[in-house]
Symmetry: D5
Subunit: 116 residues, 10 copies
């Protein structure tokens, strides 16, 4: 994991900052490790935000999400972590992050957190 994700996540100037508008990403290629068992977990990450001054650059977002590949992370913690990192990097007007995890023990889990 990058020690300072606000450096990993590149941004560009919002082309229309005077308007509130919404950007959604759906990234179905997310994987991390279970901190208890070391076994892989898989999820789709969904992000919705209203940019203020900065928009996140798509390729750096992809690299940021790939960085979790060898990290141990609980479902609840990883979603809050992604939200915190993106809020730090972008200071958006509002943002929601959702992690939709594959079935474990016959149970399908979705965690969703919103800022502010």
């Amino acid at each position: 994991m990058p020690t300072d994700p606000s450096k990993t996540l590149e941004t560009f100037d919002n082309p229309r900052p005077e308007r509130d508008y919404e950007i959604r990403f759906e990234a179905p290629e997310f994987t991390c490790l279970c901190p208890r068992t070391g076994q892989p977990d898989f999820a789709t990450i969904r992000i919705v935000y209203v940019p203020d001054r900065a928009c996140v650059e798509l390729k750096s977002l992809k690299l940021y999400l790939w960085a979790f590949r060898n990290e141990g992370a609980f479902h609840e913690a990883v979603v809050n972590r992604i939200l915190d990192d993106l809020v730090t990097a972008l200071a958006p007007r509002r943002m929601t992050v959702e992690g939709d995890f594959f079935v474990r023990g016959g149970i399908h889990t979705i965690v969703r957190a919103t800022h502010p």
Copy 2:
């Protein structure tokens, strides 16, 4: 059935208690017995909650739901029972439990209860 489900249900500390965020579970492998006929009933149980201090540990939730396998339980009662047990164990900021039962007598039944 565990006589005291708040002991069966294990919890861990909410990693981000200062934020209201939502956790959803969908458990399609739920079965109990009809208290009138003794015949098996099947359902999908859906749980949505905003944790306060505690999150429910996924494996203990699985074991808790399996414990209904040999219990007699009416549709309306079982959904309220699961909600009461989880509220006792977790004291969440808010929680909804939904039981989506297979067709009986040509009728498909869904029961949904919310706390508080």
Copy 3:
């Protein structure tokens, strides 16, 4: 048709009257007769209610709906009739009944009524 449906519809005590919760039924096996032509009509009946003191017993609900099989009933009237009968029998906190009728004359009709 039962002359007094509040007798046909059996109820049991709401197991959790201190909580507002929702019960949904979907009954796709509903048929009645067109009062004008005598020809069969088919519908799915959907019922959503918040019980007060009484819940409707599932088997008696099935028998109640079957009782329309040889009754003449216009779409608009039959949905209001089912709502009135269930309100009489259950005195729910609130209830919605929806009839979703098969295509007639190339037109698909849905009627939905709510109490109160």
Copy 4:
């Protein structure tokens, strides 16, 4: 039930008897009674045939299927009965009848029979 369905089922001359072509019907508004319990059963009836000299007239087919409304009929028997009646009335080059019945006892049943 009509005692002689080959009279109920009206036909018209195949407009193109020199060509083998296929006619399919899907009739989702079929209901009969369970011969054991007297309770209603519901099904979708699907018919596929290659006409020889005669095609079945659509309105008479509708009336023929409605005639089962008050008849007791097992799943396996009713599908074979419809096939036999249509074969008697039409003498098709080939015909398949399928009955797709609603769930009973948690089990969904489809019966399919072909002539010749």
Copy 5:
């Protein structure tokens, strides 16, 4: 086109005028002509209304919609026209009409108008 659609559209007395309830129609068999090119247009017409004193009779609604078959009508105008005609005939408590038109020039168009 009928010159006075409030005569074409037949009504019957609302069987339950003391209750606000909703009637929905979906009519996928609508066609008119493009006023510019004379070419056929196709649409699904959806109508939702809360009746006051009068309900529209289903067969007369079918005939009313068929009357557009040889009429030239722009997408925006035809939806407003149907809404105006039905409001004139029924004086409903509220009504929405939606026309969902087939793709033209690679673009799919939906027009939706509400009264009042």
Copy 6:
């Protein structure tokens, strides 16, 4: 209806006659009239063929299908008619025409004919 559809249907030279390949069309905007009642019928027409020397030009196919708009045509006859007209115009190596008609009397009808 064009009295000689082989003139209405324009063709162009098959660009690859030395290879057997397949062309499929799906035309959901087909309407004709019921010869018995004069009421409109609607269908999706599907055509699959392997061209020999000639391919059908798309715009002329559209105009050909529109020409049925004011014609009376039974389901079984119209599908065989379209197949015959296209075979006359194109002399394809093989061709199938399918008409998938909207529900009438609660029954959905599909007619499919193949040449040769």
Copy 7:
């Protein structure tokens, strides 16, 4: 588990033994136990057969499948066991049994066996 399932499974005389026809059942309410861990497994069981002299009675089939509820059974073995039991009880002309099991360890398993 019944020690002799051919007694548990009731049959009735095939109403049309002179014709080969097909009966399909889909039973989504199947559960057994993992013989290694004792944990519940869930599956949909699908059965297709051509009866010879005997058809299986639907209610006895339901009871037969319920009897696995407290049995330990590997996926591969349980499907072959159900096929063997039904073949013993019915001596069908041909039969296929398929078990479609819920995800375990991120893997979804389907086992399908055919007689003869």
Copy 8:
């Protein structure tokens, strides 16, 4: 790109300006170029608006969207640009434009902007 899109976009008089009603377009045939790499991007453009005095003419809208084919445009900028151009041309009471872009780098992006 047209240097002044308010000339490219043709309008016609709103046939019912005294009523607020909604017009939706879905245009799945949109392509532009990535300004960084010059590689093609593809999207579905969705537009919803309530017209004031003017409605956009469908064919001119198609031509306007085609004009982006050889333009470099970032996802966030192109959606705001289309909204700005349409607002300039139509002065609608309100309007939303959504661009739903194909997957790039394993991430699916949707941008949605609303006026006012």
Copy 9:
């Protein structure tokens, strides 16, 4: 368009030439121009082949398909052209190319060609 596509299309050695196996591609981002009107056409291109000595390199396939962006091409011709180019470059054991084109004139067209 590349004047010699067998140079544009890069290949790599089949890693398992001793086995017949199948490779499928689905490329929904295909656009070319109508040779008659100059207007854009859009399609999904599907390719299935069994490699002999060579496999097509994915990135060069993407560039090859992009090269049609400014080419005029009839539906029937473009599919045969892609098949011919890929057969020239790869000499596969067998190959099918399918072009699934967006609706034009209310008609959806699919062309499919196979080698050998």
Copy 10:
């Protein structure tokens, strides 16, 4: 990657070797690395086989597939590799392996190989 996968893959005795029957697995949680760029690839792996003497144990299959997580592997090679390893370990009567890979460069790829 295990250097000798036939040791990693555990097997158990086929419980019904005298019958040809089919076992299917769908494993949507597969990831490896692109050998050219080092970037992650994601796929669903589907396996269908008819066991001879041995069946593959589900947990060892899961571990075997996880072992690709840090391996570089081309699409075509990885599917053939999995097939070879499973054939070595199980000596099945027949087996098919399919890898269904996420979109890269706007193209979705499926590779399918069969033994023998």
